[in-house]
């Protein structure tokens, strides 16, 4: 293939692609993101391919494998163009009916439509599904529309035009000015102004500079980076190439979690294709600018999301951060000026170059521009990927998009920012989400996990959970983080085990503030956020654990007992059969009882009881 060297050539290629592609031709788009794939969407694709072949429709109908559509809850998801008919929970055996009814005759298969639980109405089109309707997708806009392994799909939707514009019509300074003016901030969680970072790196002395795309999404409960890398890898590359041009870097790295095999695969394909077409390599767009990008697989360490630890890891060292007075933009990878941005930040750049700084700056709040991307998970009806303008209230995200709390339970808290964030209580549900407001509330944006918790969640246990994660992931270099988190975990474990006294809460608070103030890197500095925010908003629950030795949510094993309700148990024996400790006794058709001395509180009996006769107190 001939390399693309001018804007005209890119335009010509795009036009010829658009001419060859009939927008009215029926096209099946099957989501092959990790969520849908885990539910068997690869089999659905195979069924479509076979059925299309069987009915001899290969010329009339297209079948496209796309990345994550975001509505993981209803996967496998299939969308049919041109009308954008939305089918959910599709199984291979549904395929022949879809082909003969929808593809050939434009009829709808009613049983596969999504039912809006609020209205009870069936929804026909993807854009009318409430989960998508309230979103404003910019970065994720093309996630479900293109085949991520096909560069033509990306070029057809206008891909690499921003790169052409930046390199052929703008100076490096103009690119940086535009990004700075747009107000784009680091979407990996830090929120540092991107344009300013680029300028610092450009000004840093030295001929050799690097750009790095951070895709080491280690936060438990966050998967937006993964979805973007899987579904639209070229958008990340395009942003990185523009950034490298503006900064003056000739080598780039993508640091990606090894647990994301599909993302690694798609990024590698994208890099190879970009090289083939001349978007990477030497003399990009005849400008004399050269760039290559390599992928580094992460080793599975949460701390490597921190910039200096990430750099150490690319250098094949242990991922230990260093003190912040040495800036990565001046001395980063191999001590050369290095600009690290999250993959979502990079993917925002082409949008800004194409549409202008003013367009981007109009979206969002005064200080936080553009969109916020969240992985909405936990005890919420619609688990999935959400992109909304900065400043959207939490309530809208959880209730309008997320469809409210699972099984109609009561909302208790929402946790944002992963292990570095905090828990936000019900009284703050009107909070508009942006970098500043989340920090004020004791949480943070983080890499975009949004975990919804209901009345059955114990907030002390949640704090214990995150501390357990962080003490495992702490690299051990600085004392406050290494020892402080461990001691906090000990105190909180005691509390959940019923051994905590009232006075430990003060010690816990003090320790948390110490770790926050004196840790070396962001991991330690933000580690106490969950403890501090739960102490601030959910003091009652701590008090119940230390004073009354009770866990109000019924989670902490040492503080609860399972018992059988006399009026509900019919003596069916379902629980008795499954109890591994033989702690349940009772004759057939007679009331059963639990021997508390033998019971290990695994809860299997409660899951097994068909009559909801087993309770926790």
């Amino acid at each position: 293939m001939k390399k693309i060297r001018t804007s005209q050539e890119l335009k010509a290629l795009r036009n010829s692609l658009l001419q060859r592609r009939d927008p009215n031709k029926p096209c099946v788009r099957v989501c092959l993101g990790t969520g849908c794939r885990a539910r068997g969407s690869a089999d659905v694709v195979e069924a479509f391919t076979n059925e299309i072949k069987k009915q001899d429709l290969e010329i009339q109908v297209d079948c496209k494998q796309t990345g994550c559509h975001g509505f993981c809850e209803r996967g496998p998801v299939v969308v049919i163009r041109p009308k954008e008919i939305f089918y959910q929970r599709v199984k291979p055996h549904d395929v022949p009916e879809i082909v003969s009814k929808t593809l050939l005759n434009g009829e709808v298969v009613d049983s596969l439509l999504y039912t809006d639980p609020a209205s009870g109405q069936k929804v026909l089109y993807e854009y009318e599904v409430p989960f998508y309707k309230k979103q404003a997708r910019l970065v994720l806009a093309n996630n479900g529309r293109i085949d991520p392994t096909n560069i033509f799909d990306y070029i057809a939707i206008g891909g690499y035009q921003a790169l052409a514009k930046a390199i052929t019509t703008m100076s490096c300074e103009e690119v940086i000015d535009t990004v700075e003016k747009s107000g784009l901030r680091g979407l990996g969680g830090g929120g540092f102004p991107t344009g300013r970072k680029w300028r610092l790196c450009r000004k840093a002395p030295g001929d050799v500079k690097f750009v790095i795309g951070n895709g080491d999404e280690g936060d438990p409960g966050a998967f937006s980076d993964r979805s973007l890398m899987e579904a639209n890898p070229h958008s990340i590359l395009e942003g990185m190439i523009i950034g490298a041009y503006a900064i003056g870097a000739n080598q780039g790295y993508l640091y990606v979690r090894a647990e994301y095999p599909l993302a690694l695969k798609h990024l590698q394909i994208a890099i190879d294709q970009a090289r083939e077409y001349g978007f990477l390599g030497n003399n990009i767009f005849n400008s004399g600018f050269n760039l290559d990008i390599k992928i580094n697989r992460g080793g599975g360490a949460f701390v490597c999301g921190e910039s200096s630890a990430l750099v150490a890891s690319i250098e094949s060292k242990m991922g230990e951060p260093r003190a912040k007075y040495i800036h990565t933009v001046e001395r980063g990878l191999w001590n050369k000026p290095t600009n690290i941005n999250n993959v979502k930040t990079w993917a925002s750049v082409p949008l800004i170059i194409n549409n202008g700084a003013d367009w981007y700056a109009k979206i969002g709040t005064e200080k936080s521009k553009g969109t916020a991307i969240f992985s909405l998970v936990g005890k919420v009806n619609n688990t999935g990927l959400v992109e909304v303008p900065m400043g959207t209230p939490l309530k809208d995200i959880i209730y309008d998009i997320g469809g409210g709390i699972l099984e109609g339970k009561k909302f208790k808290a929402v946790q944002t920012g992963g292990p570095s964030g905090g828990c936000i209580p019900e009284e703050l549900l009107d909070l508009p989400v942006d970098f500043e407001r989340l920090t004020e509330a004791g949480s943070m944006m983080g890499s975009g996990g949004m975990i919804v918790m209901d009345e059955d969640t114990c907030m002390v246990d949640v704090a214990r959970y995150f501390l357990d994660f962080l003490q495992y992931e702490s690299c051990g270099k600085c004392v406050p983080c290494r020892e402080g988190i461990k001691r906090m975990l000990e105190i909180i474990t005691d509390i959940t085990a019923g051994r905590g006294k009232e006075e430990v809460l003060e010690i816990l608070q003090e320790l948390a503030e110490m770790v926050k103030d004196f840790s070396l890197c962001g991991l330690g500095q933000t580690a106490p956020n969950t403890v501090l925010s739960t102490l601030r908003y959910f003091r009652d629950e701590y008090n119940a654990h230390v004073r009354d030795k009770k866990c109000p949510a019924g989670i902490c094993k040492d503080l609860i007992e399972y018992f059988i309700l006399e009026d509900k148990c019919i003596g069916c024996g379902a629980c008795l059969k499954l109890c591994s400790q033989k702690a349940i006794q009772g004759d057939p058709n007679k009331l059963h009882i639990i021997d508390h001395a033998k019971c290990i509180r695994c809860g299997i009996c409660r899951d097994a009881c068909p009559y909801e006769a087993i309770m926790v107190k």
Binding site: T34, G35, A38, R39, C72, E73, G75, E217, G218, D219, P220, G221, A222, F223, R226, A258, E259, Y260, N296, R297, G298, G299, G300, A301, F302, S313, E315, S316, K317, M318, G319, S375, V377, G378, K379, T383, G384, Q415, G418, G449, I451, M453, T457, V462, Y465, F466, F469, C475, L578, S580, C602, G603, I604, D607, A608
Partner: protein, 161 residues
């Protein structure tokens, strides 16, 4: 547990494909881990010699990252997701049930080298929570009661192979 016999030529080939560059240490260890399922001690020593990197640094990196293992692992790797979404929906109970059923603790391998049990923090499939991944296969909405069933399915597939 028996270590694999040294196969220097295979490991040398990997090291040489990275031109014996010390800066490729992690990538080289990743390939060795892929080959054997863990990092045999003889291979670490070989890497240290060939790259001219002190053993303490090789061992440091090998023990720092979760992706590396220093003991042989089972044929079937069972990963229980303990990401926040899975944890809230009860994956800790799933892990306990697996420990009980397999008779090993988290991070260990059964003596017959059949199963390794490992908790992971988020596989990024939160809509399926709680998730357990056996090999490449995802089991969604796991409960302690489903554990026995999943193990039986893996074992019966194993016998067929």
């Amino acid at each position: 547990m028996a270590e694999s016999a040294p196969e220097y030529s295979k490991v040398d080939k990997i090291i040489e494909s990275y031109s014996c560059e010390g800066s490729a240490l992690i990538a080289i260890l990743q390939e060795i881990e892929n080959l054997y399922g863990y990092l045999p001690a003889w291979a670490l020593r070989r890497v240290s010699e060939k790259l001219n990197v002190p053993m303490i640094q090789v061992y440091g990196v090998a023990s720092f990252y979760d992706a590396f293992h220093l003991t042989p692992r089972g044929k079937h790797l069972i990963r229980v997701c303990l990401g926040t979404a899975c944890y809230l929906r009860g994956s800790a109970r799933v892990l306990e049930a697996l420990e009980e059923e397999l008779g090993i603790k988290n991070g260990e391998t059964t003596p017959d080298l059949m199963f390794s049990l490992q908790s992971v923090h988020c596989v990024g499939a939160c809509a399926l929570a709680p998730v357990t991944v056996v090999g490449e296969r995802y089991f969604d909405k796991m409960t302690p009661t489903k554990v026995r069933n999943v193990l039986r399915r893996v074992q019966s597939k194993n016998e067929k192979d």
